[in-house]
């Protein structure tokens, strides 16, 4: 019995991706290590993404505060605004929004870059020249996204909380010390650590999917665009799937 193309295509992609992941881990621990390239990718992926992440984080904190204020006033718990916003940002909004922005910027970039390298046969040329293209292109990028996204998330949370502090002060008045004291009073390790840990998985998924889509790009320049697009869509979807799994696991562990 012949399966429909879209089903067989899905399983084929899943199988290829599993092999790709396996190859990634194999190449990751096998010398020689492309440290210089890894650092360069960290800079390109992490540092250069920070302005975009910071701006979106700041706006997110500010808007969330201003949107939540009327509801909290209606319930007479306006004083709990820092607690509410702090918990929302640290537990969910900070990691997910940062990951989505990161996916939009990085995953598509990696997909397009590797895709164009693939269709212009630069990857084949690297293999011919004796350089391991997987280690040089994929491992460094995936490792960089995996490690940079948590750092970006922490910085984004800080900027968001500052934006929220400004949001609180637009219609009320509270000191920065009191605001952060209230936020950290309500936070526990169970709020910070699971949120931080899941960003490693977000980063890994974003880098891996971007690289997979680019590395397996086909059909010339059209395939490059498709790879870039698919990289963003699939990595964004994966962010939510991982988030769903993460919340289930933290719930099972009693951390919610």
């Amino acid at each position: 019995m012949k399966l429909p193309d879209y089903i067989s295509g899905f399983f084929e992609d899943t199988g290829n991706m599993a092999r790709f992941v396996a190859r990634y881990f194999r190449e990751l621990f096998r010398p020689r290590y492309e440290v210089r390239q890894f650092v360069r990718q960290c800079y390109l992926i992490g540092v250069l993404s920070f302005p975009l992440i910071a701006v979106t984080g700041f706006i997110m904190g500010l808007v969330l505060t201003m949107q939540l204020r009327p509801s909290l006033i209606a319930y007479g718990v306006e004083s709990q605004l820092p607690v509410m916003v702090g918990l929302s940002i640290v537990r969910e909004i900070g990691p997910v929004i940062t990951a989505l922005i990161f996916a939009g910027k990085i995953s598509s970039g990696i997909g397009a870059e590797l895709g164009s390298m693939k269709v212009t046969e630069q990857i084949d040329a690297m293999e011919v020249s004796g350089t391991n293209p997987f280690k040089y292109l994929v491992v460094t990028r995936v490792l960089a996204t995996t490690l940079m996204l948590p750092v970006l998330t922490v910085l984004s949370d800080a900027v968001s909380l500052y934006g929220s502090y400004l949001g609180v002060n637009i219609k009320g008045h509270t000191s920065l010390t009191l605001y952060f004291f209230q936020v950290f009073q309500s936070l526990g390790f169970g709020d910070v650590l699971p949120a931080l840990i899941k960003t490693f998985f977000f980063g890994f998924a974003i880098g891996l999917i971007g690289c997979y889509m680019g590395y397996n790009s086909k059909k010339g320049t059209e395939g490059v665009g498709r790879s870039a697009n698919a990289a963003v869509v699939v990595s964004s979807l994966f962010i939510f799937i991982i988030d769903l799994l993460a919340v289930q696991i933290t719930d099972l562990l009693g951390l919610n």
Binding site: V39, R40, V47, F50, V77, V154, A158, Q185, L187, V192
Partner: protein
């Protein structure tokens, strides 16, 4: 050079992220009393009302520590193990009391340690605090429910009473009657006057009593003067003597009446003679007849005088005067 600058930027970027994370974890850890020296305290409750490990402990409202562990001792007793900041040890005394409260109306549960009103000794590591049962929301709602039922019953009764008052014709007739108020006012004025008189009487009576005490006046003399008392005693003795004599006289009169009665029955004595003498009766009868005849002739003479020429005018004037008086 460019790569070096890039590395420095990356290093700064990563350091900033890691530093922020470390600071955040430190702040959270400090709130959970993970750093700095602490000591343990215990308290036992029958109901912890949803208290959880990690909830705050307040001493007189100040953050003093966190709940470390909650464990069941037996089916009715729950022991709460508390991790208290060492700096609070000097303030918490052995007679301090622990109770479970809320952070705000809808906030987390919190253990409140309150100092006793009398001084106590400094608390030791692992000491068991006396627990105080604070009425929870459920108990308050239960009491409030009873109060509501009572208020409902009262309001129903009040409505019935008001209806009865509204429907009472007699009451409204009394209230609408203006003369009643005037009468009531007059009564009150009379009562006021009576009270005034009573006051005056009371004052006079007080003066009288005062005079009596001083021996002034007749009553005072009677009460305070010994000679009057002896005279009174003598007078009473005399009255007694007189009454005794009177009894003797009455007895004698009684015996006389009895004697007279026996004389009348036996035909003896003066009375009997008067009553039984027929000649005397005849004489009396003839005398009475003579008087009657005399009176009749006098009337005839008077009638003759009225018709006499000389005296007729006098009698007419008298008759006119009599008629005038009658008409008036």
């Amino acid at each position: 050079m460019a790569a070096n600058k890039r590395n420095i930027t990356l290093g700064f970027f990563v350091s900033a992220g890691v530093l922020l994370l470390v600071v955040a974890l430190y702040l959270i850890g400090r709130n959970r009393n993970m750093f700095g020296s602490t000591f343990h305290l215990r308290a036992r409750f029958q109901n912890v009302s949803g208290l959880m490990s990690g909830n705050n402990i307040r001493y007189s409202g100040i953050q003093a520590g966190t709940v470390k562990e909650i464990r069941m001792i037996d089916d009715t007793t729950i022991e709460v193990d508390m991790l208290i900041d060492e700096s609070m040890r000097q303030f918490i005394k052995t007679n301090s009391m622990a109770s479970i409260g809320n952070e705000g109306l809808m906030g987390n549960k919190v253990v409140n340690i309150t100092p006793a009103s009398v001084p106590g000794e400094e608390i030791e590591e692992g000491a068991l605090l006396v627990s105080k049962i604070v009425p929870g929301t459920d108990e308050m709602m239960g009491t409030l429910s009873n109060t509501n039922e009572n208020v409902e019953e009262l309001s129903i009764r009040l409505v019935n009473t008001v209806n009865r008052i509204n429907n009472s014709k007699a009451l409204w007739r009394i209230l609408d009657d203006t003369t009643l108020s005037d009468g009531l006012r007059t009564s009150m004025l009379n009562l006021q006057a009576a009270t005034t008189n009573l006051n005056i009487m009371s004052a006079e009576f007080a003066a009288l009593v005062h005079d009596v005490r001083l021996g002034e006046g007749a009553l005072g003399a009677v009460i305070s003067n010994d000679t009057v008392a002896s005279d009174l005693k003598e007078a009473v003795a005399n009255i007694k003597l007189v009454s005794e004599e009177s009894i003797k006289v009455l007895l004698r009169v009684d015996s006389m009446v009895a004697e007279t009665k026996s004389d009348l029955q036996n035909g003896d004595g003066i009375a009997n003679k008067i009553l039984n003498d027929t000649a005397l009766v005849t004489k009396v009868n003839s005398s009475l007849e003579s008087i009657e005849r005399g009176t009749s002739s006098f009337e005839q003479s008077m009638e003759a005088l009225k018709h006499n020429v000389l005296l007729r005018g006098y009698f007419r004037r008298n008759a006119k005067k009599q008629n005038g008086k009658q008409k008036r």
